[in-house]
Amino acid sequence: MIRGAIEALGRRVLEPIEEVGRVSRIFAFGTANIFIRPLRFRETVKQMEFIGVQSLPIILLTSFFTGAVFTLQSHRAFAMFGAQAMVGGTVGVALTRELAPTLTGLLVAGRAGSAMAAEIGSMRVSEQIDALDAMAVDPINYLVKPRLLASVIVTPLLTAIYDFVGMVGSWYIAMYVLNMSEPEYMKRTQEWIDWDDIWSGLLKALVFGAIIGTVACYKGYYTRGGAAGVGRATTSSVVVSSVAILVSNFFIAWALP
C-alpha cells in the first residue's frame, strides 16, 4: 500500500518531466530537420495555405471588431480628461504589441492547431505513421517539419494582417461613430506607433507560431486510444497552446524593451 502510494507519487512527478522531454524533442527534431533533405517545400506551402485558409476569415472579422471596441472604450475613458486625440495612438500600440499577436495566436491555435493535432492523431491511431516509418520515411521530416515551419511563418503574417485590419476598425469607429477629426487621428497614431511596437508584436507571433506547431504536432504524434484519443489530443492541444501563449506572452513582454 505504501509502495503503491510512492509509485503513484513517482509517476506524478515523472510524467510532466517526460512530457516536457517529448515536447522538446518534437521541437528540436522538427527544427533540426529544416535543413535535412527532403526539404518538403511543397508540403510546407500546402500547410501554410491550410493555416491561412483556416484562420484568415475569423482573423479578419475579429481584428476589425477588436480595433473598433477598443477605440470605443478608450475614447470613453480619455474623454473624462479631454484627451480623446490620444485614442488612435493608444489603440495602435496596444494592438500591435499585445492584442494582435496574442489573439492571432489563440485563434490559430483554436482553428489550425486543433486541426493539425486531429490530423496527425488520426494518422497515429490508424497506423499511418507506422506505415511512414515502415517505408523508411521519417515522420518528423514528413509531417512535423512542414507544419512547424508553416505555423512559424504564417502566424506573424496573420498578425500583421490583424494589426492592419484592427487599425482600420479603429479608424472607422473614430471617423464614423465618434466623429473625430481625421488629420488629428492620423497624426497622433503615426506619432505614437513605433516600428518597435510592430516588430515586437511580430516577434511574439513568431514564438506563438512555434508553440502552436510544436504542441499540435506533439499532441497528435503521441495520440493513443483510437477515436477518443484523437478527441482528447485535439482538445488538449488547444488548451495547452493557449495557456503557453498567454504565459510566454508575459515573459516576452517583460524581457523586451
Binding site: Q128, A131, D133, A134
Partner: protein
Amino acid sequence: MSRRHRYEEPEPVPIDPVTGQPVAIRYEGVYKSFGEHHVLRGLDLLIPAGKITVIIGRSGTGKSVTLKHVMGLLRPDKGRIFLGDEELTSFTDKKLRTVRNRFGVVFQNAALFDSMTVYDNIAFPLYEHTRMKRKEIDTKVATLLAQVGLSGSEKKVPSELSGGMRKRVGLARALVRDPEFILYDEPTTGLDPILAAAMDQLIVETQDSRPGITSVVISHDMHAVLHIADKVAFLVDGVVYDEGPPEYFRDHTDPLIHQFVTGSLEGPMKV
C-alpha cells in the same frame, strides 16, 4: 536455395527445422514490455526464407509487436533479432531505416494515407526513394493494381473503398518496391469469408509470383493457417507455444491448441 552472397563466411546458414529452408529472420530470447505490461517474454522464432510463415495467437498476445520488432519500429528490451546473418538489434537508427527498404508491410487496417488517391498511395514509396519517371510509375501502379484485382482505381480515395479493397491497395503499396520480405498484419480480419478467402489466395499468388520473397502473416484465422502456411507458430503469452507445419496443428491433441483450432469456449484459455 540460399540468397547469401558472401560465400567466404565460414559458419553454416542456420536451417529452419520445420521447412528445411535457410533462416531469413531469427528472434533470440526477445523481451518487450510497455510499462508494467510484459508483452514478449523471451520469444524464440525462426522465419524460413522463401516461404509463408503464419503466426497465430489470440488478440493482444503481441503478434503485431513481434512484427514491429523485425522492422526496427520497436526495439527489444532484451534479446537479439537477426536478419540473415546481420544482427538487427545492434543497428543504429540510420542503418535500421535502410533495412526497412527491404520490407513491405500490409497493416491491419491497411493504413492508407487518407489525404491521397490510390495512385499516390501506391506511388508514395517511389516518390520518396527513387527517381522513377512518371510514365514508369504509371505502368508500375497499373500492373500492381491489376495484380490485386483493382484495375482502374487509381483516382479513387481511400474513403471510397471497402475494407477488402483498402487491404488490396495496401498490398499493392507494400509490393511497389519489390521487397525481399512481405509482412501481413491480420490481412483477413474484418473481411467476410469470401473476401477473406480471396485475400488468402492473393497472399499465395504473391508468394508464387515472386520467387525468393519471404512472407510472414499474422492471423487468428485457422482457415487461413491451414490453407496458406508453410510453417505455423502459435504464440501464447509472448512466447512461441508450439510450431510446425499446418497439418501438425489440424489434429493436435494439446488442449490449448485444440481449443484455438476449434474455436471452442471450453478449454484452458479463458475469455
